[in-house]
Subunit: 334 residues, 2 copies
DNA sequence: CTGAAAGCGCTTACAG
DNA sequence: CTGAAAGCGCTTACAG
């Protein structure tokens, strides 16, 4: 059973495929097709269940009504939630999203961009890895709308939407200091991307401003791709230092590993030991006591990304580059 | 800057596009192209960075090397994890995955199938909603490989991979009974899909087998699409009944709502009150005390799905329908 | 050993 | 008010 084509519809209606095409694309009025013909063709399309072949349309027009979304890991709840919000919003505007995970690998990211390119996606939303600058530049030179989100790249002039990681991290430390904490640890990763280094800078700057010494022994940078067990071991070792009275986890999955450690070594979170996690997670609200978190405004990020993409998609001329920095919110729980 | 086409490569190499096409598709030997020509063309392709236009290829061949994955909600960690595993495995075999969420709406599911159809995906992996039977039947009649997973549909003969929900639910209740529980509650949803009704049936059968009465007041069926606050209120009301000494939550998000209630009403989980949650979640391991869960073997489900899809994709003839039921595991924590 | 040509299903500039 | 025809970039049956 072969699918119907525009030719079949044209034959059934006794008109040319040109006429059918105009009607399908809402250009009937503009091309002054008579009302009778419009009605007849629409009825036949309706009855036959004909759906235009999008592949053929893409080949001809060079676009696809598809936006490519590249994230680090779709199974991370931060990305899963952002993806879902972006999908919803794009869908309402007639765009579909296809997404894929880079797993923080340049090669995989590059392959994904190539795949999207050869599928002629109309625009790219990318949570990039370092080293991808050149590939992104090529897309931009090609006049493809590109929005980076979550993490920016230093050597590139691209649209960007993300939270103010430096200031969120700074505020977290400030909060600890005001509660009288003296030995504040940071658990972060060794990936060299801005949204992580900014959290580190915020940590350092806050210590400096409040006259606390920076102590290397209190900073743990775990290797990005390592086993969780390895991470757990390293955190356990860090927590051997019982001077530590507060800790900021730079990502939600590090915080989860950290909480597992605390459970294992039976250290309780309370007045003597405070925790803040970067990026919320359902486990944090449920935890006893509740875990304070830095919350990025997911809804606002998704909305801004889609708005920027759509305005670029509908604009004939190249729009100026925009960087939108959205404040993150510190939620204190106990 | 227009992208290169096969024509450009043919011109540069002074051969026909037929020759280039054969070389790209690894048919050079079979078509006995001379080694010199192969080398020359491959060098030009390499140097120019030429990538074949997949859209054109799809239009011509009618397939796409893309598998469509339709889930209920990609931001649910069960689906996010399955999606990621399937993506990895498919990727290694040269297939890309595009995924999208139905949000349990027949209309959205139907639109997604149509979108995938018009994009000529090669195969479908679907976590279906009831009412989609006819649409799925059309795909199967069209000789498209289709695998349902997580939940099966009653009136349809399709390949299926999923956990044994009845027996997992039965075992959970058995576990409660053996611990001496008498008033075991069930919190589930009102969606009418097999994987949910089977959990309900398992609950009832276990009570029956162990001589416990079935008490309607102990079963809460919350409405699928309602606000979480509403769910929380209903669970709170259920827990007013302080005879209840154990509760099985039929999904992980219901369990999360339930744990929030327990925290609010300051009821502690322990000897007097036991909890089991269906589908694991990071929050459960971290919870104090740890929450026992029914774990579906994600890895095995993903692997089986991909295997079935690939064997259908590579088989010329229609393969017999297979239903693979994989046991779920009850993990007891405290 | 290699190529000319048809055709996949559309859109659109041009013609009348 | 409507249609014939070119062309998007490929693959492949056929011919030599």
């Amino acid at each position: 059973m072969k699918a119907l084509s525009i030719k079949d519809i044209a034959q059934k209606a006794n008109v040319s495929i040109t006429t059918v095409s105009f009607i399908i694309n809402g250009k009937a009025k503009e091309k002054s097709i008579s009302d009778g013909v419009i009605e007849k063709v629409e009825k036949i399309i309706e009855e036959s269940g004909y759906k235009p072949n999008q592949i053929a349309r893409s080949l001809r027009t060079g676009n696809s009504n598809i936006i490519g979304l590249i994230v680090e890991d779709i199974s991370n709840s931060f990305f899963a939630k952002i993806a879902r919000l972006i999908e919803d919003k794009a869908y309402k505007r007639g765009y579909k999203i296809i997404y894929s995970s880079t797993e923080n690998s340049i090669e995989k990211a590059r392959e994904l961009i190539n795949m999207f390119k050869s599928r002629k996606v109309d625009a790219y939303i990318i949570s990039p890895v370092k080293g991808l600058e050149e590939d992104i530049r090529v897309l931009i030179n090609d006049d493809k709308p590109v929005i980076l989100f979550d993490r920016n790249l230093e050597d590139i002039d691209a649209n960007y939407v993300g939270a103010n990681h430096f200031s969120a991290s700074y505020q977290s430390i400030e909060n600890f200091v005001q509660a009288g904490k003296k030995n504040i640890a940071l658990v972060t990763t060794d990936i060299d991307v801005l949204q992580i280094t900014e959290r580190y800078e915020g940590y350092k700057k806050a210590l400096l401003d409040y006259g606390l010494p920076y102590n290397e022994d209190l900073v743990l940078k775990v290797h990005f791709n390592q086993d969780e067990q390895e991470t757990i071991n390293q955190i356990k070792q860090l927590f051997n230092n019982d001077k530590i009275d507060a800790v900021l986890f730079a990502t939600n999955y590090l915080a989860i590993s950290g909480l597992k450690v605390l459970k294992q070594i039976r250290k309780t979170i309370g007045n003597d030991f405070s925790v803040i996690a970067y990026d919320d997670h359902e486990a944090f609200e449920l935890h006893t006591p509740g875990i304070s978190t830095v919350q990025q405004p997911l809804e606002e990020i998704a909305e801004t990304v889609i708005k920027l993409i759509l305005s670029q998609l509908s604009s004939k001329t190249k729009l100026p580059i925009q960087e939108v920095i959205i404040p993150a919110k510190l939620i204190i729980r106990d």
